[in-house]
């Protein structure tokens, strides 16, 4: 490693009206290293990267940014990109209907006098795809036809197509499964070895520890520490301690499992066909049950049919030719529409709260009550004051941090949006809650709170089904875990016997007859 910093940010202070987002942050990155940044949501990680990349223009902050020995005064993304600094956001900036090659050169078209040379484009695209480990993909394939994991790699290829010396990745693995994440990290190592400096922001501490050379921990807008992973022998508890400012003896709240309760909910022989490719079974003869007061997990890789199973049970909102039976308290019930499902005590909290869960432009209050508006309604008229009282109660109960209930939901942090999403379904008085990736993209502190809410719901006698791609989370929270592979239930493991290894074995079981 070279000992001259490629990037030096000195005494950066950035204020938003009413909040100091960054205070006297000093941050150094050395040439050719992978530098991890950890911190809770709202700690200031993204703000720091925005200062660096010019999204927060020069003059809107105090302090200095020195890059490659020169003082930087970036006014927008173009300025920083011209210096070889490229930032890849969590939400990918790809156009789904265009090909891989077209996306790679989007805004950077290989043209002479405005005319694109397609053979040139294709040749360069193939070379770039090779660098990011996508040698088997054809550059003419449309972005929408490849998975999120590969899309993330195309984003990196897109960055490489420009002159890039410093690559910044914001939560690159948030929507990838373990295998895809592993691949991405190995690509990052290769790029580092080719001399590109990388800054990676991630909630997944294990990953950061695995890939980063140095890690900077940020809390409340200030740098807590910068550590060298090898020399300082850093481990997860140490990072968490720095991030939350307190000892987290456990990532999961303790909970006494409720076993032996009566059966609350059961699905039998559940089969669902893919909604576009209607000859393909995505869920095949799945059966499972949940007892009163029990927390049941569903473990499965991406594409195993976990979300598809949940959504098809919840008002047939996914899939075609759905067959199978749903029982509530031993009696068969219909769940063909969302209305019926809600009436039968089922709630489904989606994995994608922005696209499917919440109305971000409406207020916190309106989002909380929309699924059970009838509870604050008399003769078709909403009693707004009653509604305020109820949403205030939910706010306190789920500890939603918001200045008041009438702000637009989009102003809240991810963790608090997720709590609103939960509140909305708690308000429907469900008996069974299906939580799909309930802690995706939220910080450690908020995760802990979500786990506590899950425990409380179970203690209140509800049945909770947790779908998650994070196995430690399932093992830490659930009383019993089903494994799903290629649409089949391949096992059911009690908490005491669950390990990441045996779950993974069951999740990858070949099920082809």
């Amino acid at each position: 490693m070279n000992e001259t910093p490629i990037l030096e940010m000195l005494d950066i202070t950035k204020e938003f009206p009413g909040v100091i987002a960054l205070q006297d942050v000093t941050f150094k990155v050395y040439r050719g290293e992978i530098h991890g940044i950890c911190g809770e949501n709202g700690a200031g990680k993204s703000t720091l990267m925005k200062v660096l990349s010019g999204i927060h223009p020069y003059g809107s902050y105090s302090g200095t940014v020195t890059y490659d020995g020169e003082l930087c005064q970036f006014h927008n993304l173009r300025d920083s990109e011209s210096r070889g600094i490229v930032i890849i956001h969590q939400e990918l900036a790809l156009s789904p209907f265009l090909s891989i090659a077209e996306n790679i050169f989007l805004g950077n078209e290989q043209a002479k006098f405005g005319v694109i040379n397609w053979s040139d484009v294709e040749e360069k695209a193939i070379a770039l795809l090779k660098r990011v480990g996508l040698r088997q993909e054809h550059p003419q394939t449309k972005i929408m036809d490849i998975g999120v994991g590969k899309q993330q790699l195309v984003e990196i290829a897109k960055a490489l197509a420009k002159r890039v010396d410093l690559l910044i990745l914001d939560e690159p693995t948030a929507s990838l499964n373990d295998e895809e994440s592993e691949h991405l990290l190995s690509i990052l190592r290769e790029l580092r070895d080719q001399g590109i400096t990388i800054i990676i922001i991630s909630h997944k501490l294990g990953e950061i520890l695995e890939v980063a050379d140095n890690i900077t921990v940020i809390r409340d807008g200030t740098v807590i520490e910068t550590v060298n992973v090898k020399e300082d022998q850093v481990d997860e508890p140490r990072l968490i301690r720095g991030m939350v400012g307190r000892e987290m003896s456990s990532r999961f709240p303790t909970h006494t499992p409720n076993v032996g309760g009566e059966e609350l909910f059961r699905i039998e022989d559940w089969t669902v066909y893919h909604q576009l490719d209607t000859t393909r079974k995505v869920v095949d003869g799945a059966s499972l049950y949940v007892n009163r007061g029990e927390i049941v997990g569903i473990a499965g890789l991406m594409g195993s049919g976990r979300t598809e199973m949940a959504m098809s049970v919840f008002g047939e909102t996914y899939g075609v030719d759905i067959s199978g039976k749903v029982f509530r308290n031993g009696v068969e019930v219909q769940t063909k529409t969302v209305e019926q499902a809600i009436k039968n005590g089922i709630a489904y909290v989606t994995e994608d709260r922005k696209a499917y869960g919440l109305n971000l432009i409406q207020t916190v209050r309106e989002n909380m009550t929309i699924s059970a508006l009838h509870k604050v309604t008399h003769n078709g008229v909403v009693d707004s004051n009653e509604e305020k009282v109820e949403s205030q109660r939910l706010k306190v109960e789920l500890n939603v941090k918001t200045p008041n209930l009438d702000v637009a939901l989009k102003t809240l942090s991810g963790g608090n949006q997720q709590k609103v999403s939960l509140a909305k379904w708690v308000f429907t008085d469900p008996e069974v809650l299906i939580l799909d990736e309930p802690t995706r993209g939220i910080d450690v502190g908020a995760k802990y709170e979500i786990y506590e809410i899950i425990n409380r719901l179970a203690d209140d006698g509800k049945g909770v089904i947790v779908i998650s791609s994070e196995l430690p989370e399932l093992i830490g929270v659930c009383d019993r875990i089903y494994t799903l592979s290629e649409g089949h239930i391949t096992g059911c493991v009690p908490k005491a016997e669950a390990t990441q290894e045996n779950l993974m074995t069951l999740m990858t079981l070949e099920t082809k007859e």
Binding site: Y356, V382, K388, G414
Partner: protein, 417 residues
């Protein structure tokens, strides 16, 4: 106090911006027309001329909030007006005026249901369905009203041309002593003044009742000073309009009564009912609405049924005002109505919009028309001005949003929008 005032204003800043712009335009034209804009007769005709925009904007705002559009409004007005005129005019039918009105309302509702069916249940985009409706109903209008049918019964014509002063007693008053603008004023309508006073009392009562209810539910109400200030401003506007109208020849036009009732009803529907909440939910995030158990098809269907009903009301007012039914009626009305909604702050992408905004937008357009007409601006140039105002209003909306977007970019949430 200052911060809580900001908070109370905060969410509605855009709303107040439009109202401020309206006040500015009124003052501007009052000066350029030497006060003629605010003569009682002009105020009265302002309402009559723009009634169709005000009425149909109530439906259009629901349509746009839910993420749709209705291009057929003008054609439907012509067709429904044509049928309504035909049954009253034709010697074979010779229906009484009230039967014609009822038939028109039923027919409009049916047309709304027709559009709603294709949009909500067959899921054809509203743009296509109402474009088809625009062509079809214009054609059908020419079939039934290819020639001009006129005149109609006095009772029918009275809908758009008479008012409270024609029924209730008035006090003689020589307006000439107030200045040249009030020369034509011969009397003051007591009924109008009474309604104005009642409206102000109702305003005070509802505001304070809401405060009391909030206190009862343990919610901290907005600052008292803010409530009082709000009441004073609105009461002043009501009093101002009331006094002017009371001096006009017809007093309170019947059309204004119709509009007032519809505005109250549809404000209530959008703000307070489950249906209204569902309209916003569908426009804000359709997928989330479906997964929240909202029957989106039924809601969309009902939105267009309401729209059809309101188009029929507009048709009746238009035919009554012209005292004639003709297939060419209502040409490009849909554009006026859509423009009023957007000027009034309705979001182009759906999910956001208020009845009060659309009404202010409609009045804004009306004042522009009236003011320019009095000044003698040629109608060709009036259209140019209207177009520019629409562009400016939406540009203002988007620019003000973009400013907040830069800050909000801190949360990547905004990027996916």
């Amino acid at each position: 106090m200052a911060s809580s005032l900001k908070q109370a204003l905060g969410g509605n800043l855009r709303q107040y911006g439009i109202m401020g712009a309206l006040a500015l335009v009124i003052i501007l034209f009052t000066i350029t027309t030497g006060g003629k804009l605010l003569s009682p007769a002009n105020v009265s005709s302002l309402i009559g001329q723009n009634a169709y925009v005000l009425i149909m904007a109530l439906g259009m705002i629901m349509v746009i909030i839910a993420g749709h559009i209705d291009l057929s409004a003008g054609s439907v007005v012509a067709f429904v007006g044509g049928i309504c005129g035909w049954v009253m005019y034709s010697t074979n039918w010779d229906w009484p005026w009230w039967a014609g009105v009822l038939l028109a309302l039923a027919l409009g509702t049916l047309i709304g249901a027709w559009h709603g069916f294709w949009i909500a249940y067959v899921r054809i985009p509203a743009f296509i369905v109402t474009l088809a409706g625009m062509l079809m109903f214009r054609g059908l209008a020419i079939v039934v009203a290819g020639f001009t049918m006129a005149p109609f019964d006095d009772e029918f014509v009275a809908i758009a041309s008479k008012g409270s002063a024609n029924i209730f007693p008035t006090i003689p008053f020589d307006g000439g002593q107030l200045g040249v603008i009030f020369q034509a004023v011969k009397s003051i309508d007591v009924f109008t003044l009474l309604v104005g006073v009642l409206a102000i009392l109702a305003l005070v009562w509802t505001q304070f009742r809401n405060r009391a209810s909030q206190v009862k539910h343990g919610i901290e109400p907005e600052p008292l000073g803010f409530t009082v200030g709000k009441i004073v401003v609105i009461a002043f506007c009501i009093a101002f309009a009331t006094v002017l109208l009371s001096m006009s020849a017809v007093g309170t036009p019947f059309v204004l009564v119709i509009i007032a009732v519809l505005v109250l009803v549809y404000s209530f529907v959008l703000n307070r009912t489950v249906f209204g909440r569902h309209v916003y939910a569908i426009g804000g995030n359709l997928n989330a609405a479906i997964l929240s158990g909202i029957n989106t098809a039924r809601t969309n269907f009902m939105i267009f049924v309401h729209m059809g009903f309101l188009e029929a009301v507009a048709a009746i007012v238009v035919v009554s005002r012209a005292n004639a039914a003709n297939a060419t009626a209502g040409q490009s009305y849909e554009l006026d109505v859509i423009a009023a909604c957007f000027i009034g702050g309705t979001a182009v992408t759906g999910g956001i919009g208020r009845v009060s905004g659309a009404m202010v937008g409609a009045v804004f357009m009306g004042v522009l028309n009236q003011g320019q007409s009095i000044m003698g601006v040629p109608s060709a140039w009036q259209q140019v001005v209207k177009g520019l105002v629409l562009l400016a209003a939406v540009a203002f909306d988007l620019l003000s949003k973009r400013r907040t977007k830069l800050v909000a970019l801190a949360g990547v949430a905004e990027r996916s929008q």
